[in-house]
Symmetry: C2
Subunit: 412 residues, 2 copies
């Protein structure tokens, strides 16, 4: 089987993956989910013309000569219904969100007025008809579709769902994800430290990557390098929507995973991708499940997850945006590269005038998990590149911890 390009491997995966079916969740549990059905407005909003400011509802024609003094006939607060009609020379004190009374055609904000004695107010500025009035239905109209299937539930969407009182929301269900590590050399979290063994970090790093997508995965533990034991674990894993197996998929003669996974009926789509790190990465399908074989090296495993598993899981959850955000950055040093494989270099980003600069975290050995922990992103070196030079503009895929920055970043 040939070495696929990263793009072809992603395409192969996304052609296999389908959006999962819908389920109903409580609004409080729905952040980050994807809507599975139309959501309609159940009333006009605002339900009547309302004031956009705290101030006075008045007749704009009364403000031909400024200052003008008007008689206050009523106080209207949000939730009140006006009792009177505003006549010439009159106004009503009004609060933000309160209904505009009959007769009034504009609101003036309190800052442009001056209270005077005897329930009168001096108006210090003229306004046009409609000033600071939010019209009935301006926000949404009864029956109108306000959210469509495929919409990701962000806090703004949560606000809209609450507005139309969706206490229960139909969303695309989340995939059930199982994580399995393989290898005799691995020592699990609850075992005592044996200096000759390698701690099982991959299961937990993968767990965190899955959690970062909003999914709580199941950790199946460690399968030893024994075909019978491995078959048992893999069979359990293939009952999930997605099975992630770390280790055991390289070209060595001791890799049991490939024959065992094939004997369990998994149709393998690819075993190799022309990338670094992450070369030995596999993908296969059954009628109900997707199998990803990830490299045993911690960094390789994480990089492959970002390129292949994350887009697949996002696709199953119904998202349109499948890939981590990329930014342009200026490279601070030369990078050697032999044409052939797409390389992902862990980098630290810094802001500079007009953009970002990217600097390698240092040694890029695939065992260097610490450098993954320090990285802000993955710089992409295209497969055909013969090397990059300092000052060149590069593309950096942002990793998880980069939604926030240390400076506000704008002139305020």
């Amino acid at each position: 089987m040939e070495h696929l390009s990263v793009a072809n491997a992603q395409q192969c995966i996304l052609e296999s993956v389908i959006k999962l079916d819908a389920e109903t969740v409580r609004l409080e549990q729905s952040l980050g989910r994807v809507l599975a059905e139309d959501v309609r407005a159940n009333r006009d909003l605002p339900p009547y013309d309302v004031s956009a400011m705290d101030g006075y509802a008045l007749r704009s024609a009364d403000l031909k000569n400024i200052p003008a003094t008007l008689a206050i006939i009523e106080d209207i607060k949000a939730g009140d219904m006006p009792g009177k009609t505003v006549q010439a020379g009159q106004c009503a004190r009004i609060m933000t969100g309160a209904p505009v009374p009959q007769g009034a055609d504009a609101v003036i904000r309190v800052e442009d007025t001056q209270a005077s004695a005897d329930n009168r107010v001096q108006i210090n500025a003229a306004v046009k008809p409609g000033n600071d009035i939010r019209l009935r239905g301006e926000g949404m109209r009864n029956g109108e579709v306000v959210l469509t299937p495929g919409t990701e539930i962000t806090p703004g969407v949560t606000g809209v769902l609450a507005t139309v009182k969706c206490a229960q929301v139909r969303v695309v269900r989340h995939p059930r994800v199982a994580i399995l590590s393989t290898g005799n050399e691995l020592e699990d979290m609850d075992e005592p430290v044996d200096p000759d063994k390698i701690p099982n970090s991959n299961s937990y790093a993968l767990m965190a990557q899955v959690q970062a997508l909003g999914i709580e995965p199941d950790l199946l533990g460690i399968a030893r390098d024994d075909p019978a034991e491995l078959a048992e674990y893999l069979q359990r894993g293939l009952r999930f929507d997605v099975l992630l197996v770390s280790g055991g998929t390289s070209v060595g003669v001791h890799d049991y995973v490939r024959p065992v996974i094939e004997s369990l009926g998994v149709q393998m789509k690819f075993w190799r991708v022309a990338m670094k790190p992450g070369h030995p990465v596999a993908f296969g399908t059954t009628t109900n499940s997707f199998f990803f074989g990830l490299p045993g090296n911690p960094v390789s495993s994480m990089v492959c997850f970002e390129q292949f598993v994350a887009p697949a899981l996002r696709g199953m959850m119904g998202h349109a945006k499948l890939y981590r955000r990329t930014i342009a950055a200026r490279l601070t040093h030369n990078v050697k590269h032999q044409p052939g494989r797409t390389e992902f270099v862990r980098v630290i980003l810094a802001k500079e005038q007009g953009g970002y600069v990217a600097t390698s975290t240092g040694a890029q050995g695939s065992g260097m998990l610490l450098s993954m922990a320090r990285a802000d992103g993955l710089m992409v070196v295209p497969a055909e590149s013969t090397g990059l030079v300092a000052g060149e503009q590069v593309t950096v895929q942002l990793l998880d911890g980069t939604v926030f920055q240390d400076e506000a970043g704008f002139n305020k």
Copy 2:
């Protein structure tokens, strides 16, 4: 009290806010948390010199004439200990992560070899000493501090924590956050639809904004415009680390919140910020609690949360990065602006050659929650601006749903 600039208001908040104390959580619950103590390596990693590839461990001096044929004396897989010493003319078949045997000083990958009969292998390339060997302690050294307090637990950090077998992690505790809405006009989620009322969306949008920071808030419900009822709700809310109150803080005479909150011993730091939307936004402190008075308008409330509450909560959780990431974008249209207030314009971002373009979501009325739901970010119009023109470079603060994009964004 004067109108603070956004920068001064943020500074005022961050001077008051202190990092919370530490607590212990399970590794599985720690994603996104901030470490409260040093984490040290508990062994050398790798624990011995290991192979970085599947291939053959050999003596580099044996490869002076290529191809060379070597005798395979042993199979070493990860988790095995080598039993033999590699002598001149010999090699050991070795798997990624397996210990390099005595005598061998390099590894050659299997792709550069060709198996032959009688347990011999033909080597088709020369390698230097040390080739594809990961040295003992190269990843981390026993006793070395590998993670320091203040580190955010990203998936890479989770991997490191698992590597040093931190099943329990000391992290900065999360603030307990209460959310209260105020106003007679509000109708809560479980009440029947009354077309004359306004649905309480703010509590839920704020809930989602708090959840997006990894915190599960408590919703206290709706306090009506009655001083006694309000006092009771506010007193309950001030038992939390942070109390968010939506509505009731504008300049109108019916706003009960200010006098009641002051009578409860809250020391108010500010009531007004020179920004749009969000003008009436308040911040105060007690010895144990922080109070934020947010505008009743849904969009204003969300924008103020992003500028003031999110950095405060991030600071309490021990994060160094307090602000949402900003990017530069090219504006696609003119924007009017009167000098005076910093304005936050909801925009949609699109990629173009060399960067992003930003386009307003349309009408920016503060009741337009739908436009907040559609926005990718908030474009910042500096307070002193006299207007922006199409083609100008602007700063956009990325909102929550923008961690992912629809294209991989790089040449792969």
